[in-house]
Symmetry: C2
Subunit: 344 residues, 2 copies
Amino acid sequence: MENKHIGGQTVCLSNPPTAAAWASVVGKLEGEGPLGKCFDTISPDSYFGQSTWEKGESEMLKQCFRLACDKARISAADLDYLLCGDLLNQCTGSAFAMKDSDVPYFGLYGACSTMAESLCLGAMLIDGGFAQTVCAATSSHFCSSERQFRFPLEYGGQRTPTAQWTVTGSGTVIIAAQGQGPYLTYVTTGKIKDKGITDVANMGAAMAPAAYDTLSAHFKDTGRTPMDYDAIFTGDLGAVGHRALMEQFAKDGYDLSDRYFDCGLLMYDRDRQDVHAGGSGCGCAASVLCGHILPNLKSGLWKRVLFSATGALLSATSPQQGLTIPGICHAIAIEAALPKKGGK
Amino acid sequence: MENKHIGGQTVCLSNPPTAAAWASVVGKLEGEGPLGKCFDTISPDSYFGQSTWEKGESEMLKQCFRLACDKARISAADLDYLLCGDLLNQCTGSAFAMKDSDVPYFGLYGACSTMAESLCLGAMLIDGGFAQTVCAATSSHFCSSERQFRFPLEYGGQRTPTAQWTVTGSGTVIIAAQGQGPYLTYVTTGKIKDKGITDVANMGAAMAPAAYDTLSAHFKDTGRTPMDYDAIFTGDLGAVGHRALMEQFAKDGYDLSDRYFDCGLLMYDRDRQDVHAGGSGCGCAASVLCGHILPNLKSGLWKRVLFSATGALLSATSPQQGLTIPGICHAIAIEAALPKKGGK
């Protein structure tokens, strides 16, 4: 059997699956940001017509899932697998969004790295011959996250400058065995990295080491350099993590200032929108992927990007028990055209 | 490319990976149960030497992981992937157990179905050529679960007869591309099923429909019947769900009384141990798999079993918001010898 594991943490997909369709549904604040025009649906109602924010988050993801299926001209019955997760305790955001879909379901927990984790596993399930069509999806919601991880919203707690704002947003990608691209070509699975950060209001610092580790592994494993990508995206390192990662790569001799972007920084206008260090949440990387990255690959603006969503693997309980904040980052290369055989 | 998806929800692994080694670490009550002698380690200390039950759960899983690696005569560095999850909010039990392992990590959330979910994905990653050796692991802890999902332990709340007892236990399986078996042969991925159960003290009723759905799909997809298996295990339906599933299959014309077992019922002696409807928790199916099922396949007692762990996809919040309890069940066929080509 062909060994697709090219060493280290990376696999090369021998028949790269295609992102056949995608959709994004976001909240009002996200719609008012610089990417506002890119999203499929902007909801003025933070409840998405439901009675609680948690049910609202599921409804948002459900709408996003239906929209992606519509764009792909498939029904849920055409899907072999759903790969989903979110930030809510026991991932109920995804479970209740998808419970009536009647599709085999793999629940994931990768915190804000979930969009990349689901793409990585979904792409491998197709490339391994286990599926023809799968769906990778995730969501986050400012209000459900804020009250679960931090404070009741009514409390109006003051936020520190390093704090990030959980994106109300969702993204869904339909991945197919055949199609016209963009193609998913290399999967680099992240290791958990823990540099001892304990400040729960500084997720960027906690996740940046994982991003650096996974991206470095990707370049080492593939023989590519950052310069082989038109654009490199991290999930939601925000201002603090973005700067840290730029500095790390500068030490390695790479100036990434023209090609490295963070989804958490792309999402909001920090001068105009009061989000401190930028956006975060599973839905941040997911909606930027589906609203901004995949469309620009399809349009030809970029030929090759590296999408690397980052997650902080803490709970509301773990910091209270004195534990540090481990981070993780999964990366997947996405290319407008199929790479030439034997090329890097 | 070979299509391994044989229809419905099932894939046939073309080069069945092997369960190369396994380990189980459980708590005192589990050690006093009927399977007590089967487990590798029984801890008299519910804290596993740590300062909190949550940290104790991670320590238990870490010990279990190390033991399985030792038995397989590998180090963590030999693993291509870890596939882990647990019941704690944001799956911190697994994340903190594995954070220093330095192995690419896929976090999963399948509630009590996690052992089967991790085996299914791990087996496919190997069979697809993406890995040579992976680890599937999960845990649960009575004390950390009880206070997260139900009541403070000091409260001493009375339990209803249908309630189940969260197993303090963990299981780890090292899956390898080559080896002497037992072999992982068929993967049937479950759909979320929701029959409208709202009683959080009756998980068996909530999960039984998912178990019936996945097992029925497995038999339909493979052309096998329950009689083709020496033993069929559900994860933790307990007394209520076990009876419901038996009745469903009786309606289909199958008397499963001699071959259908539930891990939640195997774990405890309900006459002697005050666990009401039986065991539950990710660690229930995991420790019974590693302490009882895999050893008995290896010893030759059984030639072919179907392991189908079940999960209830609720949180502590979702029932309070009036939501029902969706269930899921993933199944994997495990066989002492490689099936003959072309046989069923």
